[in-house]
């Protein structure tokens, strides 16, 4: 019997695991997929929102602003990338300038610090690549960018260091209430837990509805993105939003923490919680919308496209559902966590872990280790640090991924920390995320995985079970 079973190890579940591991609690994480960050956490904008957007008084507003404030500390403790690059919300018509003012006012109401309204000149001197069509902007200086999957993995690693346990490939299929808690069937095993933290993202409605008579319903909302190479981030310093108008919603143009640049997302309701395919229409929409703020952008810099699914609540409210389910003592929900869910994760985790600790009567540990060291990356080291790293571990001198300058030492460390697939290594090290998209390093990563895991190369997966890269030996 564990004290808390967390269902779902995306950013919400992983951040909660980290915060719960501050307490004298047995924490078990159950994840349907084979790695952290397998759902919405893997494919989103990576924006740490300032908090001007959400309706005042909502959970979204509350957790957003608090989450934003927690990021600098969390990023320091967990060593995941976070840059407070600032957000610009631009408008393309002088008639929309009052809209910016309204957004500013809402930000003030939500308690967002450091906002400023910019006129055309101020805007273009900040971001010279914006098209002349951009007439003014709201500048939210606390807006930032992060790497969502690295943040999620960092939370998981830190929670594990502090005693949490995780089980992957364990989709929850049944939950029964029993004396003193719940019996959870996941991946052919039954786990017993005093409390459940439901962080199942797109499936958080299904998990909740297994126990509660107050149902929720989540509809996946598709968001497609197009990503440019790792030098394109230099085109913009800040994240560019477009003020939504009756004419529609624009797309973001944002640098990433790794120097790439992306355009997107689209926003389309879907019925399929598994369909992360990209579409020709989505790509065309993104390119058209991006051109409204950035004319003549280079079309030959794209290296990949992807689609994320947001968990949009359509039955049971239109806000984040965070806290104890009214009719099921011991069930704690984090349901409908769409944007600004990534920003809110630290705040939701802080809040839910307090509630669960109080429910279980658990006290904080004295020996909680808040620090999680990142995998030291060759790419970001100074030459002196590189010399030192290679002296300590010569494998730092063996570069596997040329595009992103990832060394064998980093790949091995990623595997030691739990990467089991080519994409798992990619998300932990960036190997394969460069201009050639793994054309050169893919076969080498596969070989290293097979060697380190002691299995046949044909068993190595790209990502999910069934995604084997090789089908067999040659004759």
């Amino acid at each position: 019997m564990v004290d808390v079973a967390i269902i779902g190890l995306g950013i919400t579940g992983a951040a909660c695991a980290r915060e719960l591991s501050r307490y004298h609690l047995r924490v078990l994480g159950l994840e349907a997929q084979n790695d952290f960050a397998a759902g919405a956490t893997r494919a989103n904008s990576g924006i740490v929102h300032a908090g001007y957007d959400a309706k005042p008084g909502t959970n979204k507003a509350k957790y957003n602003v608090r989450g934003n404030a927690l990021y600098p500390l969390w990023a320091r403790e967990l060593e995941f990338p976070f840059i407070q690059n600032g957000s610009l919300i631009v408008c393309h018509d002088d008639g929309d300038l009052p809209g910016l003012q309204a957004l500013y006012d809402r930000g003030v109401q939500n308690g967002v610090p450091d906002m400023e309204l910019l006129d055309e000149n101020a805007l273009h001197s900040l971001e010279p690549n914006l098209s002349p069509a951009c007439r003014g902007a709201l500048y939210a200086k606390t807006g930032g960018i992060t790497c969502p999957y690295e943040f999620c993995i960092a939370c998981g690693e830190n929670a594990r260091e502090n005693g949490a346990e995780f089980i992957f490939n364990a989709p929850v299929t049944q939950i029964r209430r029993e004396d003193g808690g719940f019996a959870i069937t996941a991946g052919e095993k039954i786990y017993h837990a005093r409390t459940i933290l439901n962080a199942a993202g797109l499936y958080s409605d299904a998990i909740h509805n297994l126990l509660s008579r107050v149902p929720y319903r989540i509809q996946p909302r598709r968001g497609e993105y197009q990503l440019m190479d790792n030098a394109a981030g230099a085109f913009f310093t800040r994240t560019i939003f477009t003020l939504p108008t009756p004419m529609g919603k624009g797309v973001l143009i944002s640098p990433t923490v790794d120097g790439n640049l992306y355009l997107g997302p689209t926003s389309l309701d879907s019925t399929d919680k598994e369909d992360t395919s990209t579409t020709a229409e989505g790509r065309a929409f993104i390119l058209k919308k991006a051109a409204e703020s950035w004319d003549n952008f280079p079309k030959n810099r794209f290296i990949t496209g992807f689609t994320g699914l947001r968990a949009h609540l359509i039955e049971g409210g239109d806000d984040f559902i965070v806290g104890s389910a009214p009719d099921v003592p011991g069930l704690f929900d984090a349901v409908g966590i769409e944007s600004p869910g990534l920003t809110s994760a630290p705040a939701i985790a802080e809040d839910l872990s307090r509630q669960i600790a109080a429910y279980c009567g658990a006290k904080k540990k004295d020996n909680f280790q808040p620090h999680r060291p990142a995998i030291r990356s060759f790419r970001t080291m100074t030459n002196e640090q590189r010399r030192q790293a290679i002296a300590e571990n010569p494998l730092y001198g063996h570069i596997i991924c040329r595009c992103e300058q990832v060394s064998e030492a980093e790949v091995l460390e990623a595997i030691r920390r739990g990467a089991r697939t080519v994409d798992g290594v990619k998300r932990r090290t960036r190997a394969g995320m460069g201009k050639c998209q793994g054309g050169f390093c893919g076969p080498v990563i596969l070989e290293i995985l097979a060697r380190e895991l002691g299995c046949d190369p044909t068993e190595i997966l790209k990502d999910a079970p069934g995604s084997n890269i090789l089908v067999g030996p040659i004759r």
Partner: protein
């Protein structure tokens, strides 16, 4: 800090030829290679067809490489394997890294960039659909099969009819896989005619011109692709879609020279290529570039030829020779010409032949190549057939070169 007259970056056919040529000129040469052996991509090109020009016989890739590896071994060229060059400064300082030696700094008198090219990935052309395993570039597939000994799929569709795609169609077939089709966006193949014959026709593999892949299907592994016909603007025509069940999509959709090191060091681009003169000298003194890093070749023999010239002039530069402050004659690619190499000529007077290599924008039959200078035609050459997939060559004689005005342009007339 190590000191060499010439540092050659990349030990494929281009780098080996440049290193040997520089060494023959008496330069001290360091050849840096990322992989544990010399030869570059030739090592995985186990098919024949290499060396007809240089050796007058048909060799396989590894055999062609072997001939140069042996020469390197017998030469004073110093080789560092397992060594990746991270950076080259405008002052020709090379920063490299290896497991054995850690960070290495090399001051070179001249630097030759011969780092080859990379394959254009799926994302660059934005093929819609799911993102399963089984979508790989033809070159990566070639490595899996020929070097690692594993098959990346059993039922393939190949997008792109460049030579690697054609070669892999045959290779997969001989390994027992079924190649269902080679799909080509353009109305003509970008591969060599003989490869279409011996890699596709011989095995009854259909080549679908003016078609493309419009969607990839399959959650974890590819289970089908949808193809469609394209119109004259290369846009898919609605209603022409056809689903082909398969477990693999091999991409042979273009090779991109890896120019990043050279441009960071100061070499200027002309379009997407590094700009060179007839000595393969970039716009930045002391930096030379050759092989597929400069422009993508069909034939390795020409890589060897060009890189030999690059190596010779790199050696000369390192030993103090400076190009005379002569004229600079830009070469303009005119109507029908995609690019030329070199893109400019330098020097006061010309004593030797200069080979001009270029590609045409489309297929031309019974056309003429016209060289003009100052608006006047100075020479023209008949060509029965020219196609974008086949690199064209013109040899310019000193008489012609010395009669040039301020510029030179090349175009096609039908």
């Amino acid at each position: 800090m190590l000191h060499y007259d010439v540092a050659v970056i990349g030990g494929g056919p281009s780098g080996m030829a440049a290193a040997l040529a520089a060494s023959k000129e008496g330069a001290s040469v360091l050849l840096l290679e990322t992989e544990p052996r010399l030869g570059g991509i030739l090592n995985q090109c186990i098919h024949n067809g290499f060396g007809l020009h240089i050796f007058k016989e048909e060799l396989t890739g590894p055999e062609y490489a072997h001939r140069f590896i042996r020469q390197i071994q017998d030469s004073p060229v110093e080789v560092l394997l397992n060594t990746l060059v991270l950076d080259v400064s405008p002052g020709r300082q090379v920063l490299a890294v290896s497991k054995e030696r850690g960070l290495l700094e090399i001051q070179a008198g001249a630097v030759v960039f011969s780092t080859g090219c990379r394959e254009r990935p799926r994302g660059a052309i934005g093929i819609p659909g799911t993102r399963p395993a089984g979508v790989i570039t033809a070159g990566a597939a070639q490595k899996y099969v020929n070097i690692d000994g594993y098959l990346p799929g059993r039922e393939c569709v190949i997008l792109g009819s460049g030579d690697i795609g054609l070669i892999m169609a045959r290779r997969m077939t001989l390994e027992g896989a079924k190649v269902k089709a080679v799909v080509e966006l353009m109305p003509y193949s970008s591969g060599l005619a003989r490869n279409i014959k011996q890699c596709l026709d011989d095995f009854g593999i259909p080549l679908l011109l003016s078609h493309t892949v419009v969607e990839i299907h399959g959650k974890n592994r590819v289970d089908a692709v949808t193809i469609a016909k394209v119109d004259d603007n290369l846009s898919p025509i609605p209603g022409t879609e056809e689903i082909i069940p398969c477990d693999t999509l091999l991409l042979s959709v273009g090779l991109i020279p890896t120019v990043e090191l050279a441009t960071k060091a100061g070499a200027e681009l002309a379009g997407s290529q590094v700009r060179v003169d007839q000595h393969f000298s970039t716009s930045h003194p002391g930096l030379f570039i050759c092989g597929n890093t400069l422009h993508v070749h069909d034939l390795v023999d020409y890589v060897t030829e060009e890189s030999t010239v690059a190596g010779q002039f790199a050696a000369a530069y390192a030993k103090g020779a400076r190009p005379a402050d002569g004229r600079e004659i830009p070469i303009q690619p005119g109507e029908g010409i995609t690019y030329t190499v070199p893109q400019r000529l330098t020097g006061e007077s010309f004593r030797e032949n200069i080979t001009l290599r270029f590609r045409t924008r489309r297929v031309y039959k019974q056309a003429r190549l016209v060289l003009s200078s100052g608006g006047k035609t100075i020479a023209s050459f008949k060509r029965p057939v020219m196609a974008p997939g086949e690199m064209q060559t013109l040899v310019l004689k000193p008489e012609l070169l010395n009669s040039l005005g301020e510029s030179l342009s090349l175009h096609v007339e039908e």
